[in-house]
Symmetry: C2
Subunit: 224 residues, 2 copies
């Protein structure tokens, strides 16, 4: 009998790569999905492709999606600078409704594939400022998803698995290392260079570096 299928959202970063390792360990046939959405850190897409291949995903797709058209975030709007210091409230790197959009497209692919599981690396601990990283958002999306699709109508259940949601960055790093993830292949930096080397200064770099420190594990990140 073949393995059940899962769609795994992968950005090429630390979190989603860890989630891919978890989904593989649970014996899902993994179909990885990334977005070319006008983000500044395009080195991520290369990392997503690399890690998907290396870790044995069945297929990796990149959907082009011009989120820059609607603007509103430092990650897609060139007129807004990426901050290099911690800020209060919802960060300017928040892309409006990004996780909703990404999960919606994953839902479409899951329906085409007949997959009943979507894995996503959202995290409520380190990204507490992002509304669409909260557990109540994930549950509401799941309810909506089962009403939105053919599989919902036909009585199958689709579930959204966000295994990192309550984990600290250190716990995520520890889990990934235990599963054999090679984090030197991943890119988390909001402004990585073309070779995927990290700035070491942005929010995402700071959280990642701190994760390795707290996990008491060597940090394999390539910095500029």
């Amino acid at each position: 009998m073949s393995n059940p299928k899962a769609v795994v959202l992968v950005s090429g970063g630390l979190d989603s790569t860890t989630v891919l390792a978890m989904a593989q360990q649970q014996k899902f046939d993994c179909y990885t999905l990334s977005f070319d959405y006008g983000q500044r850190h395009r080195a991520e897409l290369m990392a997503a492709e690399n890690t998907s291949k290396t870790m044995g995903a069945v297929e990796h797709k990149v959907v082009k999606l011009d989120l820059g058209t609607i603007g509103g975030s430092a990650l897609t709007d060139e007129s807004i600078d990426v901050p290099e210091e911690e800020t209060e409230g919802i960060p300017i790197t928040y892309v409006p409704a990004r996780n909703t959009v990404f999960l919606a497209i994953a839902l479409g692919w899951a329906e085409v594939l007949g997959a009943q599981r979507i894995f996503v690396g959202v995290n409520a601990v380190d990204y507490s400022g992002y509304p669409d990283c909260r557990p109540e958002f994930i549950r509401a999306f799941e309810v909506m998803a089962n009403l939105a699709t053919r599989s919902g109508v036909e009585g199958q259940t689709l579930s959204i698995d966000a295994p990192l949601i309550d984990m600290t960055k250190a716990e995520i790093v520890q889990a990934g290392v235990a599963l054999g993830v090679d984090y030197s292949l991943t890119v988390s930096c909001y402004q990585a260079d073309e070779q995927g080397r990290a700035c070491g200064k942005c929010d995402s770099c700071r959280l990642r570096r701190q994760g390795f420190v707290e996990a008491q594990l060597p940090d394999p990140t390539r910095y500029v």
Copy 2:
């Protein structure tokens, strides 16, 4: 005082153009949103631009989104024919999770604009085979949307308005004509030619023609 803002999903077709007229009548400043998603009927996008301008929308945006990448529908997959006869169950022209994806992007733009209303032309009567045209889907999306966004966190409420959901095509046509909609500018056909002329044979053409017949109103549609 300025009018409240609304994002209105417009396809250039009969339904969404009627919804735009309704939103304008309710004195919203309308921001219209269309998708270039690999659909075959690109004449729709021209119609969406035309009707948005003619009817006084503040701004019309087209977001590029390559839904063809995930396949699964006659509307985006060139290897699947558009049927010219009525079919049982969920039609092959159903694009997996399309309304979820479109509403998710509308949600992102609404957040950027500070709009608390999204208008969408889904209809449960004529499109009963599409799971994401049901009222329970719209309500579940609304709940999710308020958890997904900054405005939800800040205690504002976003609502999704689907004014056509329980209307027959004849009722929609009558409402639109009463509001002065020029339906000759709209394109509903799944395989319209480059000039926006309709085939008269596909599901969408049949429903539209029947609507004018039942409404006892002249059909201004341009057929090939």
